[in-house]
Symmetry: C2
Subunit: 223 residues, 2 copies
DNA sequence: CTAATGCTTCGGCTAAGATCGAAGTATGAA
DNA sequence: TTCATACTTCGATCTTAGCCGAAGCATTAG
């Protein structure tokens, strides 16, 4: 049944990621859902059998997209009901609390702290959100130069945006991607504020005691 | 999450029953879903917490209805996706095959045979389906008098319709309820074509060898 | 060619939750 | 009052399905 397909948290996260309209590869979707590729593969084949998504083979990648606007419509309807009932997602996903706290999403920071950082940057007017894009403000440029020694001009890239909102699967809100997101994560690592977990393949990011303090000073919620 | 609420077969059946717009009691919904009252109680409280249904207390009954047309809309949307994918429900529900074959729904025949009977009666023009009601045709009256010794005039009841479509939860299609449905079931019993299972509380209906033949002669699908 | 990457299949583990029996509460009937 | 009905709560069982490790194609890069 269709509803049970959408009911699973991992699949729901995949579908939410696809709601953007873009087609995503199996591994991207696995990453978005916080599960291993083999688990994702199982989910994707179920979704395909259920007629919710369709694959497109391209080289050694498999791109998946929603089969139609009607699917998107129903998904949004479900989201609407969930919002009305006041319970946006019951925080499922990875069992590992560390993974929810901070992790790597491609090359930038995700998880609780990633979402918190973007929130804070918007609040501090370092980043401005226009209709469908985000950009660094003048104040934002000065901020990253002073606090993190990042040159805004060096972030420009022919094909990749500087700022990009990336849907955080565990938090269900956006965190910062783009070349800026990547540069910040890189700087965190260089400054030894944070480091990727040593376990091979792990996406967990561990903050040092000092790094956590510095992070809070820049992007803290003031609690 | 909302989708997982709808995803469970038992709950889906309850919600489908409520799609008619009528309010149904907890035990009616339990019966419709083919589960015990205590299981139903658990499901209903979850659906209520999820904001999909709302209760109305009346005496010692609790009537449940959908909370709004938006809920109905999303449910229909889901059903639409399921239909489009060509898989209407994967036949879940009661594990017991006998229960799916033939059972009592209140006082009339339900299950595979119940659905088959109504289908056949419509095909034979014994019952005519208008926009929102069903009625016995003249031919139908003669048929039940001749084949089952049922007097159509005796079926009239101040508050209960003669013919009524009742959604069959295992078949997902309608079977015949109303005073006619009850009278036919009663006659089947008197003729010893069928009998309710002796296990107390069981809703299974067992057809005799002879009864099955006679039933097939009247309402068979000709296979 | 070989090596690496993307994805799938298989098998076993585990946890979530559906189910029901038994017992408890509330309302109405006798 | 006492009994019956409608429903809920608690506790235990058990099935389902998500999950990952290991291994197996398939495709591309070198």
């Amino acid at each position: 049944m269709v509803a049970s397909l959408v009911g699973d948290p991992a699949r729901a996260n995949m579908l939410t990621a696809l709601l953007s309209g873009r087609a995503l590869t199996a591994s991207e979707l696995a990453q978005e859902a916080g599960i291993t590729p083999q688990t994702a593969s199982s989910h994707l084949s179920k979704l395909e059998t259920g007629g919710l998504i369709e694959p497109e083979k391209q080289g050694r990648h498999r791109y998946y997209r929603l089969t139609g606007t009607d699917v998107a419509g129903v998904l949004e309807g479900l989201a609407g009901l969930a919002a009305r009932a006041g319970h946006m997602r019951v925080r499922t996903g990875p069992k590992d609390p560390a993974l929810r706290r901070a992790r790597i999403c491609y090359d930038h920071l995700a998880g609780d702290l990633g979402v918190q950082m973007l929130d804070s940057m918007k609040k501090q007017r370092l980043i401005r959100q226009s209709k469908d894009a985000m950009e660094l403000t003048g104040e934002g440029k000065r901020f990253i130069a002073k606090a993190l020694q990042i040159d805004a001009d060096a972030l420009l890239h022919p094909r990749r945006p500087v700022c990009k909102a990336c849907l955080d699967w565990s938090e269900r809100r956006h965190h910062l991607a783009g070349t800026l997101g990547a540069a910040i994560m890189e700087r965190f690592t260089e400054l030894k504020w944070a480091a990727r977990d040593t376990t091979p393949g792990s996406r967990v990011v561990n903050f040092s005691r000092n790094g956590e303090k510095r992070f809070a000073a820049l992007f803290g919620t003031g609690e």
